[in-house]
Amino acid sequence: MIVNEVVELSRLQFALTAMYHFLFVPLTLGLSFLLAIMESVYVMSGKQIYKDMTRFWGKLFGINFAMGVTTGITLEFQFGTNWAYYSHYVGDVFGPLLAVEGMMAFFLESTFVGLFFFGWDRLSKIQHLTTTWLLALGTSLSALWILIANGWMQHPVGAEFNYDTMRMELTSIADVFFNPIAQVKFVHTVAAGYVTGSMFVLGISAYYLLKNRDVAFARRSFRIAAGFGLASVLSVIVLGDESGYTVGEVQKAKLATIEAEWETEKAPASFTLLGLPNEETMTTDYAITIPWVLGLIATRSIDEKVGGINDILANNRERIKSGMIAYENLQKLRLDKLNLQAKSTFESHKDDLGYGLLLKRYTDKVIDATPAQIEEATRHSIPKVAPMFWTFRGMVLCGVLMLFIFAASFYYNAKRTAHKQRWLLRLAFYGIPLPWIANELGWVVAEYGRQPWTIAGILPTHLSASNVDVGQLYLSLAGFFVFYTVLLVIELFLMTKYVRLGPSSLHTGRYHFEQQGLDHA
């Protein structure tokens, strides 16, 4: 039997390392595009200042990119080290996506990132611009493939269980690629990355404007970030991830917990703006609701219902019972492939096999589960309401704030007075952490919201873990803690140093500190 502590520690380690990685990735996504835009302007206009912008923001990009690469390898390792049964069970579907990501995206970005930094004097303007665009393309392609892989975890399509090999096997790569959840996730996440890059450039440019130095440089950077940021933040909000929450059982459970919708309401459902979800009484205290809105957002209609938590749990209870039958007949089938009776019973219940496996956490045999254990498994078949409810609202709040900042920046840019709006500059500067908070909260909504599954409806998280010792896990957690803390301190130190220095760090002699004869580098 699998040790619960191993599962919990593996989850903790994966969550921490993935969220840590996600501090750097969105900035890479966004900045690489902004670099490509800045350099395009340079090539088209021939103005040196845009080349300086590409190079300076490129320096910051490099500091961040190194951390993205460092922490990205961790994730690929961890599927194997900590989630070995997962790797076996769904490797046939999930693995190829990572392989293609490597061949199509990682090679592209990591080959051209070197040329981006070292190729300035060896390439023609157009060649270097192409390099920068390929770098940006590589980062976005990598997001595409990993989100297709993640989309499959949320809504597994195009695959079937094979009892001979005891794993899920790919049946249609097209279904996996065009998985609606994956497509929505890709657009939402990539746009969130663009917002992150824009907020970073906007906020730091605002800092230079507040300090009244390198104004020409900062105003141009500010302008590009405001335009690109506004377009991106609108994409994030309009193409919100939530539009994907009506497809698939587990996605519906996510929606219900986000909204703390305990009972299925008459269509169109109302939206709970704020309140205190109470897991014990299964009600939301002090709820402030807005009629119709949830139904409209979630179903894009006024007559479709949005499933409530109690109905979802009742459905899951039945599926767990059906899953027990699937599991029982699977065992018979494994012993004797020619048992036709078992085969036909298994076939008719196999869609619920995953639900049966939920019981593995409570009893290794599954088929001897007591009613109390079935009840326990049912209760834990969806994520907890409060974390979902609050993280989602936190994310949306950050999004709305950023929409305001970008819209205001864009507006005052159009009026050519943005650099004089000190309140806006301050807001942009202090708003720099917003996209990071939104990204991390969004990660929690998507991945904690998937619990108790690694593959929705197919493979419980509990079963996915490797057979490793608790001691090994404490050791690796300690290792990550030490490395990641030290690296973060170093990264932030370098980043702050170069941000303070600004374009003077390019040593062109044209910028603030060099003009004053103060060489700080």
Binding site: A66, G102, S110, G114, N162
Partner: protein, 379 residues
């Protein structure tokens, strides 16, 4: 759709190809990392070493990342068993790999000598640790790892991290480290000049010697001492085989059985030995580019020798030989292998084409003057 037997053979070959790609391409980066504090006596010299590989090392490391993805996709059970079984070892490898991306980018961003020296040692560890862990892992693969696959196809590993340090595996570490130092030194000899190139030549001499001796001793050991494995039940190469239904024997010398079945396989170890001699000769004659190409050939031959001796085994199990993972019972489904094959055939030539272009753009020797003229731009 290609038939299952062909696909599995192709995927075995592609796995070997990717391992070769990784060691050929990133092997010299790892080697230069290990040599960094010893060959570079001054800050400028160290920067020459770093910038000789700086613009391209990141793409080279991607071979490892892709190798991970490919083994996950085409050989899931091997990926799952290897990574979880060698849990601590893989984490040590991972922590080692952490040091290079940040090391390259951050080292020269501050002028402080203590900062730079600290990063130099980090880059040294970033070369040494992966080289040691990977060779240790390879040695243990040849010995066989203590794991068992249960009827749910869950793998249970019973060894500990310290059990990896077996005599034969330690010999493999010596071979691996020497080989990568050789490969790195040959690259440096090609891409640098003056004192640094002279020091690289000295490394070529001793590392090739250590490598050759180690490689031959390992060969003799495999022939007369070390247990090899062989599948004794009939294999149907066209079907989805039940992993646990085969029988496997374990006995000394079995790893050489493939050489009597396929005598041409002997070319591989022979070329590795002859090639190493040729590397030394070509370096002495200052044909540095040719020496590097030959060094790449040596690396490929070493990997092909190991993989070829073990075929069809991918991961033999020392405690439950039946649980051993082979080409015929540990692959992905036929559909997945087929799709992934076409994806690979389509994409890898493109990758190799633009990689070649980037190397062409960045060609030429890196000199101390280059560093001094571009001290704020280069690594």
């Amino acid at each position: 759709m290609l038939d299952f037997e062909t696909l599995r053979l192709i995927w075995w070959a592609l796995l070997v190809f990717l391992i070769c790609g990784f060691i050929v391409m990133d092997g010299f980066d790892l080697g230069i990392g290990m040599l960094l504090p010893f060959l570079g006596k001054t800050d400028d010299e160290r920067r020459v070493m770093l910038n000789a590989i700086g613009p391209t090392w990141e793409g080279n490391q991607t071979w490892l990342v892709t190798l991970g993805g490919i083994s996950f996709g085409a050989w899931s059970l091997v990926y799952a068993t290897f990574f979880s079984g060698l849990y601590t070892g893989m984490l040590v490898l991972l922590f080692g790999l952490f040091l290079r991306p940040v090391g390259f980018d951050y080292r020269s961003k501050l002028p402080n000598p203590r900062w730079r020296s600290a990063w130099d040692w980090a880059l040294f560890a970033g070369g040494l640790v992966p080289a040691v862990v990977l060779s240790l892992g390879a040695g243990n693969l040849i010995i066989g790892l203590p794991f068992q696959i249960d009827s749910d196809l869950r793998s249970n590993y019973t060894g500990s991290f310290w059990d990896l340090f077996q005599p034969f595996a330690l010999l493999c570490v010596v071979i691996g480290v020497a080989l990568l130092c050789l490969h790195g030194a040959v690259f440096l000899h090609w891409r640098t000049e003056a004192t640094l190139a002279k020091r690289a030549r000295r490394v070529i001499l001793w590392s090739s010697l250590v490598f050759i001796v180690g490689f031959i001793v390992a060969g003799v050991w495999v022939a007369v001492g070390l247990d090899g494995y062989r599948v004794t039940s009939p294999i149907d190469t066209h079907i989805v085989a039940n992993l646990l239904s085969k029988t496997v024997t374990k006995a000394s010398g079995l790893w050489l059985a493939n050489y009597s079945t396929y005598p041409w396989l002997l070319l591989s170890p022979l070329l590795a030995i002859i090639g190493t001699g040729l590397v030394v000769f070509l370096s002495a004659k200052r044909h540095t580019g040719w020496a590097f190409l030959t060094s790449c050939l040596v690396v490929v031959c070493v990997i092909v020798t190991a993989a070829g001796s073990m075929f069809p085994f991918l991961m033999p199990s020392s405690i439950s030989p039946t649980s051993s993972l082979t080409v015929w019972d540990a692959s992905a489904s036929r559909y997945t292998l087929n799709i992934l094959f076409f994806a690979t055939v389509l994409m890898m030539p493109i990758v190799m084409a633009y990689t070649t272009w980037v190397y062409r753009v960045m060609r030429g020797k890196v000199t101390v003057e280059d560093i001094q003229n571009n001290k704020n731009v280069l690594y």
